[in-house]
């Protein structure tokens, strides 16, 4: 049975806009719980996997099944969903991909990303491009692709129109991060002048050993849209829009009546007595409020999911809704409507697929669909 709530969402305005009212209604529907049987492909509903969305068919998702090393497909439909075994990704040989963190569909094949390597489809084969060989990146000591959360919840690095990859690279030695573009046809990289938030330094928790360091997942989240990039962060409400045509950056800081604007800044004077002590502090930081990736919803909206702080194993789940100019037009506490919402929220046209929190059988994936009017 559909549960419907008309939510009075408090809207605040980005400061100077005079025409907008201070209150607007968000009408949110969350469906009944649906299920898909995953047993035919061996995926588990209790694990998260690298996932990518088809550009042609929005309700089709590709999932890397690490167990069988296949890219399986998941077709989501309210009435009929199915999962299908896909092509195997060899780890060795001329088209082998030993390991990868992210992938996206491209020309009936896939592009794969590893720490500083991209595997590109090329006349039926895979071409390996090692970014560490580009003098521009070597000169800047940009050694690694900056990885966001292990949960690939929105990391989107490819401009299909221009066949260009956008990535944030980082340096081991000084935490410096730079936005980099890679033009596939020209096989050329370029640096993009993007200014990231100053607060990032305060949120980096590092455990250092000689030549090795462990960090909390503080990295920026990158999302490629048609002619612009969205860069947001897991620790703050702030985000940037980078206009690729104008080559200009615009900064946003949407306020909320429902949740705080930033994770608490960790105490950097702590002397970690052990690595496990460091992990405790890093985990506490991760349990604080977390801002998710931006997604386009239908043709006229963007949304972002904000997970409230985890306290006594409970947390709230909020949604922020933006217009195409990134003015915030509404926000709502989704957990009031349905407390069983998990951590994955993927757009399917004008609806949002949400993995359910409760997954009692690993062969069965439970999920909900959210609609916004």
């Amino acid at each position: 049975m559909k549960r419907t709530i008309i939510n009075l969402a408090l809207i605040f305005l980005l400061g100077c806009s005079e025409e907008k009212s201070s209150e607007q209604f968000l009408r949110i529907d969350i469906s009944e719980k649906f299920s898909i049987d995953l047993s035919s492909v061996g995926l588990s509903s209790m694990r998260d996997y690298p996932i990518a969305q088809s550009k042609e068919k929005l309700n089709l998702f590709f999932i890397f099944n690490a167990f069988s090393r296949t890219i399986d497909s998941l077709l989501i439909d309210e009435a009929y969903s199915k999962v299908t075994n896909g092509i195997e990704i060899p780890s060795e040989g001329p088209n082998g991909v030993e390991s990868f963190n992210y992938f996206i569909p491209y020309e009936n094949q896939f592009i794969f990303l590893e720490k500083n390597i991209v595997y590109l489809p090329d006349s039926g084969d895979l071409r390996k491009v090692n970014f560490s060989k580009f003098p521009l990146l070597m000169d800047e000591n940009l050694e690694f692709i900056s990885r966001g959360s292990s949960l690939a919840d929105g990391f989107d690095f490819f401009d299909y129109k221009k066949s260009t990859i956008y990535l944030i690279f980082e340096s081991f030695s000084n935490n410096r991060k730079k936005l980099v573009s890679y033009d596939i046809s020209k096989n050329a990289v370029d640096l993009i002048n993007l200014e990231l938030v100053n607060e990032m330094e305060k949120h980096i928790l590092t455990y250092n050993n000689t030549g090795i360091k462990a960090e909390n997942p503080h990295k920026p989240i990158l999302k490629v849209e048609d002619d612009f990039l969205i860069i947001s962060y897991p620790f703050t409400n702030k985000f940037h829009i980078y206009d690729l045509k104008e080559k200009k950056q615009k900064d946003f800081e949407p306020k909320s009546e429902l949740f705080k604007s930033e994770k608490s800044i960790p105490d950097h004077n702590l002397d970690y007595s052990s690595f496990t002590n460091y992990l405790e502090i890093s985990n506490a930081w991760q349990d604080d409020i977390k801002f998710g990736a931006f997604f386009k919803l239908g043709s006229s909206l963007f949304y972002r999911i904000v997970r409230g702080s985890i306290i006594n194993s409970n947390h709230k789940t909020y949604i922020e809704v933006f217009d195409l100019n990134f003015n915030k037009i509404g926000e709502s506490d989704l957990s009031i409507i349905q407390p069983d919402l998990g951590a994955i929220f993927l757009p399917i046209g004008s609806k949002i697929f949400v993995k359910a929190k409760s997954q009692s059988n690993e062969d069965i994936l439970n999920y909900y669909m959210i609609s916004l009017d």
Binding site: M46, R47, D48, E98, S99, F100, N101, E114, K115, N116, S132, E143, F144, R147, S149, S150, L151, F172, S173, N209, T210, G211, I212, K213, A214, E215, N216, P217, K219, F275, T276, L279, E280, S282, N283, Q286, D287, R307, I310, S313, N314, H315, T317, L341, G342, A343, I344, K355, K357, Q359
Partner: protein, 79 residues
């Protein structure tokens, strides 16, 4: 020392050097609990080469939304 013996020693040393050269590690690793993560990092220090980058996800910490704690590990490329 004969030329033949010298050649053999050089080949043996070369083979040993290849055997002990650690390659960079990468990917997403699964752990269960803080102690397991620590053990993985200690193992990586022995077995992974410069330029390694990997993420360890703790599947046993049971976050209520299904998302787990993680730690990102990086090795300097040219220490």
């Amino acid at each position: 020392m004969s030329k033949k013996k010298m050649k053999k020693i050089i080949l043996t040393l070369g083979l040993l050097a290849l055997t002990f050269a650690a390659f960079p590690c990468e990917g997403t690793w699964i752990a269960c609990g803080a102690q397991d993560i620590q053990d993985m990092v200690i193992d990586a220090m022995s077995n992974c080469g410069p330029g390694s980058q990997f993420v360890i996800v703790d599947l046993c910490d049971g976050n209520p939304d299904g998302q787990h704690h993680e730690v990102h590990v990086l090795f300097e490329s040219n220490p």
